[in-house]
Symmetry: C2
Subunit: 210 residues, 2 copies
DNA sequence: GCGCGCGCATGACAATTGTCATCCCACGGT
DNA sequence: ACCGTGGGATGACAATTGTCATGCGCGCGC
């Protein structure tokens, strides 16, 4: 279709970031077999990814969200701040509306789920390169749903509580009093309609709010 | 063994199972570019995988663990039960000793982590095809460490508790009394050296015991 | 300067959780 | 028939958790 005209002349230059080495290599292979896309850089964490994009200035930057050092969202935000022209596409396992919202805020042009067919990937890269937006339809609808009702404190506290830490420990860790921690937790629990701290943490996590 | 004499004549036939479509496609692409390997089937869940292996009788079956319907471990076990000649290689995100143990019990010939470099994959397929075992070294050592100390009941109860359910709910769900549930939980907590049910669940999960 | 809201803390109380000691009962040996 | 054992239940008690009402100080808007 599109690029048969000039074909190999102007390949789309891509950098990929993904912490699972096997998947990273595999995605790269997947794109390389498309004649019109060329993978010019790979990164296994956010830090590396940022540098890689900055030095290569690729057309498209494909990134996972959950990575060591910096998340894909952090990297996207940083690229936006620096007014880098590279278009960002998020490729993640998580269908969490909170993530999508943050991705868009961070200026991402695409948001795909690892779930859906591999064919979509090369296509998405081309579309985004042409200046279009590619948002997984499944998410796009639900996305403008509820926004995160939690305050920063509630988030912090909930995160720790979700790991099984006791109120006292959490208090110590955050330099608060135990009673206050329980208050925050109680607030979070009621905001999320949960029955206890653990359920609350689960809910927040699945929405991408934690 | 069979026919490596003729080289390209006889490509290694592989079936891949992986629930994330994108990753599935990517892994397939990765293997296809190796001249001596041919992907003859793909599956996105355990059920499908089992059928696919049964009908294609591939040389090697590459599978993720966590999938809908049946886990990769379940499929491996079933293949062993049926005395299918196909060699099984587990490819997973999780470096959990419990998983490795179960994989070996189920007759798997390989256990790789998605973390490590993509190059290893094709190599592992060849090695396994030749009749060798390929176990991620990182795991291999630690593997013959502790075995699961939990009883069936403790496992069930812990699973539910880890999701934030209250003792009463768990009791109802399993047809036990609330006190009994607390007893099991207490046992599990002490066996795992945890401070509470949530931490206990976390620990069990990271060991692959849950 | 006044009032408001927000972040944080207290204290008090009920519900849930974690720990133990004890008990019942269905079994599987011997 | 008789013990041993393991699954399950009770009851009692302490610690932790969840809920509320209330209090304090600080910054902000007006």
């Amino acid at each position: 279709m599109t690029s048969l005209s000039k074909e190999s002349r102007k390949a789309i230059r891509v950098v990929i970031a993904e912490d699972q080495g096997m998947v990273l290599g595999a995605l790269a292979a997947l794109l390389e077999i498309e004649g019109d896309i060329s993978v010019v850089g790979r990164a296994r964490n956010g830090q590396e990814a940022l540098e890689c994009v900055l030095t290569h200035k690729p057309d498209v930057f494909l990134t996972d969200i959950e990575m060591p050092r910096l998340t894909g969202l952090d990297v996207a935000a940083e690229l936006k701040r620096r007014r880098v022209a590279t278009r960002v596409v998020i490729v993640t396992t998580f269908a969490r509306s909170g993530y999508l919202r943050r991705a868009l805020d961070a200026g991402a042009s695409g948001y795909l789920l690892k779930d859906h067919p591999a064919e979509q990937l090369a296509d998405a890269v081309r579309r985004v390169h042409r200046g279009l937006r590619v948002i997984d339809p499944e998410l796009a609808t639900e996305a403008w749903g509820e926004l995160d009702p939690l305050t920063d404190r509630e988030r912090q506290v909930l995160r720790l509580a979700g790991d099984g830490k006791a109120s006292g420990d959490i208090a110590a860790e955050l330099g608060l009093s135990e009673g206050t921690v329980r208050n925050y937790l109680s607030e979070a629990i009621s905001k999320l309609g949960a029955a206890n701290r653990v359920e609350a943490a689960r809910i927040a996590r699945t929405k991408g709010w934690l």
